[in-house]
């Protein structure tokens, strides 16, 4: 491998080398983390339990006790439910906003204003309306997921070439035909980009949202491990949060590779 070809070697062997560098990065990261704990960077009392070694053994313990599943499943469920509800609401709105100039003008200021507000700011209102629990958390996640979906979908629907629309009219398409055969498929790559961003922010907001009075979930478990001084479990939970987030994003990247068309 060399810099001349952008650090990417060709062929199967090249792919192996590329992967090896990914693995090397992870190992280096673990080494830095381990050294930090060995150098007592987390303080003299707790540094040992902050180490990756302690975290991995706590992780094994959490897997066998069933705690990991017990807290991961509600978290994943909340994120997927809110994403599903966000998609149902945001995609039609995004298409309308993107395609009709007047709808865009009508909504522009409000949407740009709303998307800058952290959903956590809505927390007291969510609790007044929905009470403490699952529904409030799902609502907050929904509130953060709709903006990237709406804005990206509208961008996609907005750059539909008038030529495609005229072509489909000469092919016999009415309004619904234009919508189904041109506008929606044209917006798919942007919808997927919006979905990827939505998954990212939802997963990030999940942890603080689950600190607001639900009895399970990874965010809840972070507080729980802190209260029990189980910093090894805390670090294990952080690793799990990162890992699930990484997997969700990989799924999205796969969707983009598979379904986003190229010019």
């Amino acid at each position: 491998m060399s810099n001349q070809n952008g650090g990417k070697a060709a062929g199967f062997q090249g792919k192996l080398v590329d992967r090896a560098f990914n693995v090397l990065g992870v190992l280096l990261f673990l080494a830095v983390w381990q050294s930090a704990s060995m150098l007592n960077l987390f303080g003299p009392d707790f540094s040992a339990s902050f180490s990756p070694v302690a975290a991995f053994s706590a992780l094994g313990e959490m897997i066998s006790s069933g705690e990991l599943l017990h807290h991961s499943i509600p978290s994943i469920r909340r994120v997927l439910t809110s994403l599903f509800l966000a998609i149902i609401v945001a995609l039609p709105i995004g298409v309308l906003v993107g395609y009709f100039k007047r709808v865009e003008q009508l909504t522009y200021v409000v949407f740009q204003f709303m998307r800058m507000i952290s959903p956590l700011a809505w927390m007291p209102i969510a609790i007044i309306i929905f009470g403490v629990g699952d529904v409030s958390v799902t609502f907050l996640l929904w509130l953060v997921a709709i903006w990237p979906l709406i804005l990206n979908t509208s961008h996609g629907a907005g750059r539909v070439s008038p030529l495609w629309v005229n072509m489909s009219r000469t092919m016999g398409a009415g309004d619904s035909g234009i919508l189904r055969k041109v506008i929606i498929p044209a917006a798919v790559p942007d919808m997927l980009t919006g979905l990827r961003l939505a998954v990212g922010v939802s997963w990030i907001i999940l942890v603080p949202a689950e600190m607001l009075g639900v009895p399970d979930g990874l965010g809840y478990f972070i507080l729980d491990t802190r209260d029990r001084f189980r910093y090894d479990q805390l670090m294990a939970t952080i690793m799990v949060i990162g890992a699930i987030g990484y997997l969700l994003d990989s799924g999205n990247r796969w969707l983009i590779r598979k379904f986003a068309w190229k010019i």
Binding site: L163, N166, M167, S168, R169, T170, M171, G172, G177, K181
Partner: protein, 269 residues
């Protein structure tokens, strides 16, 4: 004369078609009283420099623009709006990039509700006519401009249009591909017997392809002269470009534009 498809039956009639655009309160007369008759099976070229309204005329026939006055009568009926009975081929191809070649060709049939199997069969038939067999699974970004335009022609033909409208379809192609496509469209025309209304600003192209050339004038756009093109067919062998009759027709057209200043005349000779 190609008489295999000709029935002498009137298919399209433009009666006193006028078009005025309004911009910043001012009115621009783009077309003034265009009258034209096209018979079934005819290949008619509309030729003129930029600003003569030839594309506007075609778009009015396609139903993508409304005329300010006058009427467009197709097959005895007054036309309003676009439809699959008037196939349109755009200069920029207008293929959908998320569909492969055959899916692009099928779109009109899909909108009509034709079954998938039948769609495939019809689309393959027209892909073969335009010489694209073997590329049906290619994506649009993988194929050349000439191949894209072939796909667009197959897409328009697959609807079985009464008339095929072509808006400077070969302008974006290089000279060699352009000639190849001219031969291809003549072959497709002979095979399908579709009436073709073809916009161009290339004099040779108009002479090579047409039965009739509608020569347009500018300021405002109007029909200057309709020339009957009696060059013998078939013309694919390319010999006729050097024919005496070809040259005479060329001279006749150049004569028609002798009153225009050089900068107004962007025709290709």
């Amino acid at each position: 004369m190609n008489d295999m498809a000709k029935t002498g039956k009137l298919l399209l009639e433009l009666k006193d078609v006028c078009k005025t655009f309004r911009k910043d309160g001012a009115e621009f007369r783009v077309l003034e009283g265009v009258n034209l008759r096209i018979d079934e099976g005819e290949f008619v070229c509309i030729l003129g420099p930029t600003g003569c309204g030839k594309s506007v005329t075609l778009q009015i026939v396609a139903g993508l623009l409304d005329q300010s006055s006058g009427s467009v009568i197709l097959d005895g009926k007054e036309e309003r709006g676009p439809g699959p009975h008037k196939g349109m081929v755009f200069q920029e191809y207008a293929l959908l990039p998320w569909r492969n070649v055959i899916e692009n060709v099928e779109i009109g049939l899909e909108l009509k509700g034709v079954s998938k199997k039948e769609r495939r069969r019809i689309a393959m038939e027209y892909l073969e006519i335009v010489g694209l067999k073997g590329s049906e699974r290619s994506m649009v970004h993988e194929i050349s401009g000439g191949m894209r335009q072939r796909a667009a022609i197959a897409r328009a033909l697959a609807n079985h249009p009464k008339i095929l409208l072509m808006d400077e379809p070969f302008e974006a192609l290089d000279a060699l591909t352009k000639e190849e496509m001219q031969i291809q469209i003549l072959k497709a025309w002979e095979k399908t017997k579709t009436t073709i209304f073809f916009v161009t600003h290339d004099v040779d192209e108009a002479i090579f392809l047409s039965d009739k050339i509608c020569v347009m004038d500018i300021n405002p756009g109007r029909v200057k002269k309709i020339i009957d093109n009696r060059l013998p067919r078939p013309r694919h062998e390319n010999v006729c470009r050097t024919d005496k009759a070809f040259g005479e027709m060329r001279d006749q057209i150049i004569q028609l534009y002798s009153s225009l200043k050089d900068d107004e005349l962007d025709l290709v000779f």
